[in-house]
Structures are given as C-alpha cells and as structure tokens.
C-alpha cells in the first residue's frame, strides 16, 4: 500500500547542516517507521484521515447495534445497560474520533498547500497531536472490557448519573478524553500558528481560501473551549474519586453546574464540527460553478459572528432544567440570532450558483446535498431554539433528527466532498466516477430515510436514549433502521472508491478541476512529499 502513497522526496531540503543535531539518516525512514516518526504534514494528514475512517466505522457499527435493537418494539438483541453504552460510545466516537480528526486531517493536508507553506508551523508537535489520538481511543474502547462496562450516561455525561451512579470505567473515560483534548488543543495551536505565520509572501488574511479562514476560527474555538471540557471532567473525576461535591447539592454544589460547564464547551464544539465544513463547501461550489464566491468578505464575517455567538447560547440545551426566566429568554434570543449569519452563508452559496456554469462532479454533488440538507437541519435547530416549543422537543428524536441532519449530511457529507475534491491531489488519480455517483445517491437516499422519520417519531413523543418504545413509534423506527442499514452499507462503497483511487485510476493533472483556483492546484498531482520549500509568490485575485 505504501508504494501508492505520495512518493518520498529524495532530497531533504531542510536537513540540519550545522553542528549539534542528533545524527539523522538523510532521507526519512521507510515502512512503519515513516508513519510513526513523521513530521510531514501530508503524512500526518493521511494518518488522521485513516484514523477518522476507522472510527467512523466503529462508531457506525455502534449505531447499527442501536438501530437493530430499535428495529422493532420490545427488547431483542441487547440489554438496556449495553444499549446505553452503545448510544454513549456512538456519540463520543463519532464526534471525537470521526468528525474532528477528519477535519484536522484535512487541515493538515490542505492548509499548508492552500497558503503556500512548506509544512505546519510546529511539525513535531503535529505528530504528537496525532499519536495522542490512537492512545486515547484505545483507552476509551478498552472500557468495554472493564467491570460494569463502558460509559453509559450519554455523551453529555450529566452528573450525577456520570459520577455517583456511574460504572468504574468512568475514570478511564475521563482520562482518555483528557488525552483527546490535549491533542485537539495542540493541533489547534499548530494550525493557528501556521495560518498566521506561514502564509506565502503577498497573501493577506483576506486572500486566504475560505477553508483556511474557517479553520483559523475553528482553531480559536477549540483552544477556547477544550480546556473548559478538561476542567469540567476533572471536576467529575474528583467527585467520583476524591469525595468532592461539585455536582452534589448536599455539599453545596449543583448538578446543573455540570451542564453549564459542559455546554459552554459543547455548543461551540458543534460549530467546531461545522465551520470547517462551511469552508470546504465554500471552496468547492465556486470551483464547479466556475464563478467566484458571491460574498467572500461577508462569508468571513458570518463565520466570525457564528463563532462569537456560539459562546453565548449554550443554555439552549438546558431549557427544561429550570433556568430562571431571564436566562431562558436570553438564551432563546441569542440562539435565534445564529440563524442570521448562517443564512448569509446559505444565500451566498445559492447566489454563487446563480448564473454560473455548473457541473456535477462527485465533490459538487456532496457539496450541494450539504447545502440543502444542512439547511433542513438548521431549520429544525431554529425550531428547537424557540424555548417554549423546546419544552416539547427536548430529549426526543426530534433533537436526534436535528443534529444528525447537521452532522451527517452536514459535517460528514462535507468531509466526503472534501475527500473527493482533494483525492486527485493526494493520489494523482481521479476517484472512480460511476462508483462515486453510486456512493452519493445511495448515501443521500439512505441518510434521509434514516433521519427524516426521526422528526415524526420525536414529535409524536418518542424520547431519545431508550432501548424500547411504545407501539405507535414502530413504523418510524422500522423505516429509520432500514435507512440506517442502507446508509451504513453504502459507506463500504466509499472505502472501495478511496482504495481504488489510491491504487490507480484516471491520471489527474496539477489543476485537477478546471474551475479550481487556489494554490494547492499549482503543485503536481500527486503532491510531492515536500511542497513550497521556497515560498511561492502569491498574486491576489480580485475578490
């Protein structure tokens, strides 16, 4: 397999020449060692993408267990206890293991290429950020084998279910999340330093491709909120192991405090999973519409506004915990406001398409599906933001439908769009067209079949996180499960496409898509291991 990956360069440009540096071989090591020890942003990007794919399958498998149990009313396959573990681990693995690393992987590959940098700013730190993740997820998955089983309190880990009433493995869960958190923080620091410091001469901030912009802002969000998550899970750890009473009213604490801290992290976290997606789509749509993005500057400002607002809306996840009325009103209004900048984005995409010259290559298909389906998810988000109505929606499948619309045909489709878009750059080959199209259409059908009926189940009164349900929800659940299996199986096609593309296929030129404008398309396909060793001269395009 290794032979199909980007070729190793034979000359190391930046080999230390001066005295005092530990003797290193003159070309990077081959085989396994290459991947373990690498400092190359493309290798590390590839590692991130592979890890993410593996985690997507593991998390997906857990979802399949959930869907299989919910296929019919009654308890058939798993115990409620195990069901809760499945739900929890599905959420955790998908968010921290699949979506976040995928975006970091794309950033690793593409940010240096798009800004004309030789590598990430701090390459060794970059490798450290990556290797923390396999360690973290091994630890997380090992909790299945501990007495009492894996975490079973939902990915939101509300105290005291996650403290006093949790299985012993919770401590390990917390420690593994710490590792993942350190990885995210260091990764984000690296990305910020790269973007701010390593742009090609002549490239101003307002010249950067939108993927870079959205990642700059995402990295800021990460650095701001991951430490808060670390803080709150540390407090959990202490309540569990050292008898503190942060989340225990008997000692003067408050279980709701946990939720405030968690969602102060948690809400920006969901935007961490969507802003880079916005960036990818904002790059792909102009390419295949062959027309510049309608409002570059307003896209940047909208992204920044979303990020800033995201710090002020966290309690919309807590409308039913009994917040004081003023708080309830404040968080309702602030949440509704987010629709405005997000709308700006959607309108921009549509206007970019208007009077373009549009073609429908696989990346474009996924990007277009993203625009439509994400917007649907955004609409249900807006409905959830209406606090009085949320008293009925909260903790039902309506919420599950909302967040899967923004996460699956949202974040995941954007990742796939990005992968299809940049695969020619990574491998030198175009992905197989027919198979990609099949993958797309099966995914679109599957995803809607899975998640659309969830709206109805939720409105009709089905709570989330239950292993068994009343008879009136049976039809919705059966359709959902069938859709889920269809969607799951069609992801096998994706793997086939990627593997085929790595191994061969139609050769791609440097500029693989005729409408593509950014710097990455000026280097050969596949991109050599080292690019932009001397910074390219950047000539700003008129936006």
């Amino acid at each position: 397999m290794a032979s199909h990956l980007p070729p190793k360069s034979t000359t190391q440009h930046s080999q230390p020449t001066s005295a005092g540096v530990a003797a290193e071989p003159h070309s990077p090591p081959g085989g396994l060692k290459r991947w373990l020890l690498t400092t190359n942003h493309k290798d590390i990007g590839t590692l991130y993408m592979l890890l993410s794919l593996a985690m997507f399958f593991i998390g997906g498998l857990f979802a399949m267990v959930v869907r299989a149990e919910l296929f019919q009313p009654g308890l058939q396959l798993v115990e409620p206890e195990f069901f809760n573990q499945m739900t929890t681990m599905h959420g955790l693995i998908m968010i921290f293991g699949a979506v976040m690393p995928a975006f970091v992987g794309l950033a690793n590959w593409m940010v240096p290429l798009q800004i004309g940098a030789p590598d990430m700013a701090l390459p060794r730190l970059n490798n450290f950020s990556f290797w923390l993740l396999p360690v973290a997820f091994t630890l997380l998955l090992s909790t299945f084998f501990m007495p009492g089983g894996a975490p079973n309190f939902g990915w939101t880990s509300y105290a005291p279910l996650s403290t006093t009433y949790s299985p012993p493995s919770t401590t390990f869960f917390i420690l593994s999340l710490h590792l993942a958190g350190i990885s995210s923080i260091l990764g984000a620091i690296n990305i910020i330093a790269t973007i701010l410091n390593l742009r090609a001469p002549g490239m101003r901030l307002m010249d950067m491709p939108l993927f870079v912009w959205t990642w700059l802002i995402t990295a800021f969000l990460l650095i701001a909120v991951m430490p808060v998550l670390a803080g709150v899970i540390t407090m959990m750890l202490m309540d569990i192991n050292f008898g503190t009473s942060f989340f225990n009213a008997a000692g003067g604490g408050d279980p709701v405090l946990f939720q405030h801290l968690f969602w102060f992290f948690g809400h920006p976290e969901v935007y961490i999973m969507i802003l880079p997606a916005f960036g990818i789509v904002s790059v792909i749509i102009p390419t295949f519409a062959r027309k510049p993005l309608f409002g570059y500057a307003s896209m940047v400002y909208a992204t920044a506004s979303i990020a800033i607002l995201s710090f002020l809306v966290w309690a919309h996840h807590m409308f039913t915990v009994g917040l004081p009325l003023v708080a309830e009103l404040f968080f309702m209004y602030s949440t509704m406001l987010i629709a405005v900048p997000t709308g700006v984005k959607v309108f921009n995409w549509v206007t970019t398409l208007f009077r373009g010259s549009i073609t429908f290559e696989p990346p474009m298909l996924f990007a277009l599906a993203f625009v439509v389906l994400f917007t649907i998810g955004g609409f249900s988000g807006l409905m959830l933001a209406i606090s009085p109505a949320d008293f009925q929606y909260h903790d039902t499948y309506f919420v599950v439908a909302h967040f899967h619309y923004v996460l699956v045909p949202g974040a995941v489709f954007a990742i796939m769009a990005g992968v299809y878009y940049w695969l020619p750059k990574w491998t030198g080959h175009y992905p197989h067209l027919r198979l990609s199209q099949w993958h797309f259409w099966l995914s679109v059908i599957g995803v809607n079949l899975t998640f659309f009926p969830m709206h109805f189940a939720g409105l009709a009164g089905m709570p989330r996180r239950i292993p068994d349900y009343a008879l009136q929800f049976a039809d919705f659940n059966m359709i959902t499960s069938i859709g889920a299996f269809l969607f799951g199986l069609s992801q096998l096609l994706f793997v086939v496409v990627v593997v085929m593309c790595v191994r061969g296929g139609e050769k791609a030129p440097a500029r693989a898509w005729d409408g593509a404008e950014d710097l990455e398309w000026t280097v050969p396909s596949p991109a050599p291991l080292h690019t932009f060793e001397t910074p390219p001269e950047f000539v700003p395009r008129q936006h």
Partner: protein, 374 residues
C-alpha cells in the same frame, strides 16, 4: 419533453406534498394537547414550521433553478458578478425581522409557562430510578407509580398491549379546571417528567426543586415518559395522568386519605410470615427488582446480589438499616420516606426468605415504625 417535464414536476410535487400533509396528520405531529399552554406551544410550533417551509421553498427553489438553468451541459457561460451590498443587507435584515416576529409570541408563552402563582393545589413529584413518587402536598396522600407492563411483553414472550410501556400501576390523578402547581425533584439522578398532551416537560434535579404548572381542560388519560437519561431503565419509566372532574377528584382524594389512615393502623398488630412475604414480593417486584433483578441475582459489581448473600442474612441489623437509610454514595436509595413501615418490613422479610434465602425470621412493621419514629 414537455410531458416528461410535467411528470417530473408532478412527481416532485407529490414527493413534497406527502410528507407535509402527513406531518400534519395526528400521530405524526406534536399533539395539540389539552391545556391552554400546550395549545400555545403547538401554535408556535406550527408557525415556525411553516415559516421554515416557506423559506425553504424560496431558498431551495432558487438553488434548484440555478442548478437546472445554469448547467454547463446546457451551455451556460459563467458570469463573474459578486458582492452586492444592497442584496447582502436585505438578506441580513429580512431574516432578522422574521425572527423578531417569532420571538414576540414565544416570549409571551414562555412568561405564562413560568407563572406558577395562585395555584389551587400542589403536587410534589419525585423521580427515582425508575419510578415516580407523587405527593399531594398538605393532603397526607402520597404514592409510588411504576411501570405496569409485564416483563414478558418486553421480552416478546407475550403479545404487547395497547399501552405497551405507557402504563403504570397507579396514575397521578388530577382535577380538570384547577391550576395545579407541580414541584419536581429527584432522589438520585436527573429525570424529566413529561406528558406531551399537557405541554409539560420539566427536569427533576436531585437536591433542587423545579416548578411548573398545569391546568387541564378535558378529562382523560394522558401518557408520557421520563425524558432524561437516568440509567438502565430510563425507557421504562412512564408517566400516566388521569384527569377527572373536580368532584370526582375530591372524592378520590378522600378515599386515599382514608386508606392511608387505615394503613397506619395496621402497624400495631403482629403480621404473619405469609402476609409479609406476599406484600414483600409485590414491593420487591415493583421497586427493588429493577436493580437487584427479580431473582435477587443483582448485577455485580454495581448492584449486589441479594440471593445467597450470606453476609447480609447474618446481619439482620445491617439489612434493615440499608433499606431504611440506603448506602450513601451509591445507587442504593434509602426508603424511609418512600415506603411505609409495613412495606419496608415486608420487603426485608421477603428478601430474607425468598430465592432460597433461609433466614426464617420476620421483620415486623411495628419495629420499623418505631425505628422511623426516632
């Protein structure tokens, strides 16, 4: 060509229409409910839904129009226009105005949801893993309400009934046309008390008390569920509210009060083993079995086995203490306030003599009552 186009339009029209009209059919949509508030909420829900539909039609319409009209295969040539301040200002202001229009009724509804003052009566609702306790404050009436669906139905050994998983042994009885203040709390983890048709969902937080209120307009039986993940049997923690005419409610309440007084009298006499075992089995089945399993085998390491637990049988004192006070820092709650003395005595007796346990002794209600009085 024309034919085909029309066909496409009709097909997509139907495709859009079916889910939308389906969504409005009952059983697919949020119930209108039987309180003024639930109606307001439903109204808000429909309003925002239709606003989203309209915006969706406009946005997706423009999108699909562009996709169709400006395909390269149709020979579309790209224009290079971009940035237009007026347009951008419009599409910032218009959504903002739409949001303001929604925010106004939402604020009003929220305010009335928060106004629990001037209630005619109060019910304290306490969540416990995995059942509800209802206390009519100031009326000396309280009881526990747990799932009534037989385990066989859940396991698929028996046909599922009409109200599968949404039925309880004792429902919360409330009068119609009276304002009832609900106070919610929990003994262990966070639960959430939800009845869709009453438009009430409120979390029950251990150590804190939440308020909500309800004034039901129509008599009937309204079903809901616990809506916050609360552990293993979160899915098996239904809420059933029976709304009756005020006169019937008053009669019912008086009946319950009499019953409670009677139960208090039963404490003085000596109970026979059989009687204790029978009562104990019932209590165990509805309450303890969820953790310790119907056969007493528990679920170690978290939930200890009671069957064959010799250490426990040898230490009668600890057994009694555990059930009354619970075990601090664990899931084992104390039942001093949840069960009456006869029930506590019975369940302990049962545990000590069921599933092959052979302590042979009884625990008398009078003894428990005495301990509780201290």
């Amino acid at each position: 060509m024309r034919m085909r186009k029309r066909l496409v339009w009709t097909a997509s029209g139907t495709a859009m229409g079916v889910p939308v009209s389906g969504a409005l059919a009952s059983g697919w949509n949020m119930p209108v409910g039987v309180t003024d508030l639930s109606r307001d909420i439903h109204g808000l829900h429909m309003a925002i839904f239709w606003i989203c539909v309209v915006i969706g039609i406009v946005v997706f319409g423009a999108l699909f129009y562009s996709l169709f009209r400006y395909r390269r295969s149709r020979g579309a040539k790209p224009s290079a226009f971009h940035e237009h301040t007026t347009v951008e200002v419009i599409w910032t202001i218009v959504p903002l105005l739409i949001l303001v229009v929604i925010a106004i009724p939402a604020t009003a509804t929220l305010k009335s949801m928060y106004d629990a003052s001037d209630a005619d009566m109060e019910v304290m609702i306490t969540g416990q893993q995995w059942r509800w306790r209802y206390e009519y404050r100031g009326e000396e009436v309280s009881f526990i309400s747990s799932l009534a669906t037989p385990r066989e139905q859940i396991a698929g050994q028996q046909e599922k009934g009409e109200h599968y998983l949404l039925e309880v042994d004792r429902s919360l009885v409330l009068p119609v046309d009276r304002k009832v203040r609900l106070l919610l709390t929990s003994d262990d983890v966070i639960h959430s008390w939800w009845v869709p048709e009453l438009g009430v969902k409120q979390d029950a937080i251990p150590g804190f008390v939440n308020e909500n209120w309800v004034r039901i307009n129509e008599p009937g039986i309204y079903r809901g569920q616990c809506a916050e993940l609360c552990g293993r049997d979160h899915g098996f923690m239904p809420v059933v509210v029976e709304a009756v005419e005020p006169e019937r409610f008053d009669a019912w309440l008086a009946e319950r009060q009499a019953e409670a007084a009677e139960a208090a009298m039963g404490l003085d006499r000596e109970w026979a083993m059989d009687e204790l075992m029978a009562r104990g089995e019932q209590v165990y089945g509805t309450i303890c079995a969820s953790c310790h399993q119907p056969d007493g085998s528990g679920n170690p390491p978290v939930f200890p086995a009671l069957a064959g637990n010799q250490a426990l049988l040898d230490d009668r004192e600890r057994h009694i203490e555990t059930v009354i006070d619970g075990i601090a820092g664990s899931a084992m709650p104390g039942f001093a306030n949840t069960l009456d003395p006869a029930e506590i005595a019975a369940v302990i007796t049962y545990e000590r003599n069921a599933w092959g346990n052979e302590a042979g002794d009884t625990v008398q209600p009078s003894a428990i009552a005495e301990r509780l009085a201290d």
